[in-house]
């Protein structure tokens, strides 16, 4: 009986303390977890998107590239050679009248000063990325250097439209020539 009484009093104590705290239900735990995840994710996004915070910063070097148009390219986009990532775009800014991007490139990949940086799209509806095609120069772009040989964003539908148009005109020219030579 005494034991029961003492356990009762203990139970009462526990009950008092636990009264102060909210009940640990599944939905509460879930909400706290999600909130924490959102907080951490936001911090991560801010760190990468807004700042220049890079992991393993010592193994990369910074170069710039200038384009007429970088529409659709975002910070975090990959820099690739032959489909293999060699770096990342970390910043886009306006250097009137051109757009200037900052790229962090792996130290063991030496960018040549006649390499061409092109903004391409992964597939038809994919993300934009920077493709580097290799040149013949023996001069390399140093830390802080700029690539000026670049190809800006190409709207493939425009190009196809104009190409079809010019092909049609060529056919007209050819058929006119045939008429003139036969008459």
């Amino acid at each position: 009986m005494d034991q029961l009484k003492s356990s009762d009093s203990k139970n009462t104590d526990h009950k008092n303390i636990s009264d102060l705290l909210p009940k640990r239900t599944f939905s509460l735990e879930m909400a706290v977890g999600i909130f924490t995840l959102i907080g951490v994710a936001t911090l991560g996004y801010l760190a990468v998107g807004l700042g220049d915070i890079r992991f393993f910063a010592g193994s990369e070097y910074k170069i710039f590239a200038e384009f007429d148009n970088v529409s659709g390219l975002k910070a975090g986009a990959t820099v690739e050679v032959g489909g293999v990532p060699v770096g990342t775009v970390t910043k886009l800014e306006l250097k009137d009248p051109v757009a200037k991007i900052t790229m962090m490139i792996k130290k063991d990949f030496k960018v040549r000063d006649d390499d061409i940086a092109s903004i391409r799209t992964k597939g038809i509806i994919g993300d934009r990325y920077v493709k580097i095609s290799r040149g013949a120069s023996e001069t390399y772009v140093a830390e802080g250097g700029t690539l000026t040989d670049t190809e800006s964003v190409v709207d493939i539908e425009d190009v196809i439209g104009k190409l079809v148009h010019s092909l049609t005109n060529d056919k007209d020219d050819d058929s006119k020539k045939k008429e003139e030579s036969s008459s």
């Binding site: 051109v98 061409i116 095609s133 290799r134 013949a136 000026t148 190809e151 190009v159 104009k162 010019s166």
Partner: protein, 195 residues
Amino acid sequence: MRKLVIPFLLLILALCSAESAFAQEGAINDVKVTVQRLVDIVESLPGDPNRQERRIKLRDVIGERFDFNEMAKRSLGPEWAKITPEQQTEFVRVFSDLLAKTYMNRVEKVTRDMVKVESENMDFPKSLVKSKVTSDGNIFPLDYRLQNVNGTWKVYDVIIENIGLVANYRNEFAGIIRSSGFDGLIDGLKKKTET
């Protein structure tokens, strides 16, 4: 003597700034002059009878402004360093012939108002000269990348609708070199210029 010091210093300063102004002169006028000369040739030698003479003169003018050696080297990319000087010379010749064959028809159609050279973005010794070409009601951008070599501006790349000539050929040539090697590439290019 003291009276002469300041005027003397000012003279030196004036000479220095004049010299640097010369050295940093842009490419835009040179491009305009080249375009004008091409138009003049096309206008003065029209039609089929003048075709051969016209093409020779056009190629001469183009050869003065375009650095085919540099364009060929850049289009070949990393493979350039792996071939012999003789192979390099042959490649430049075949590449130039191919460009002439591919684009001569277009150059021969140029008229006085077709090409408008508009602006320049210079970062000495390189420069980007922008122009607009009007053809059949379409207006499209045509940009020239130039490099100043010993005081002369020479074109090393042409960009039409944001697609660069060098980048385009570089992609194409890299694929051919991977499958058939440099010999396969130059044989293929020779066949194309002969047909």
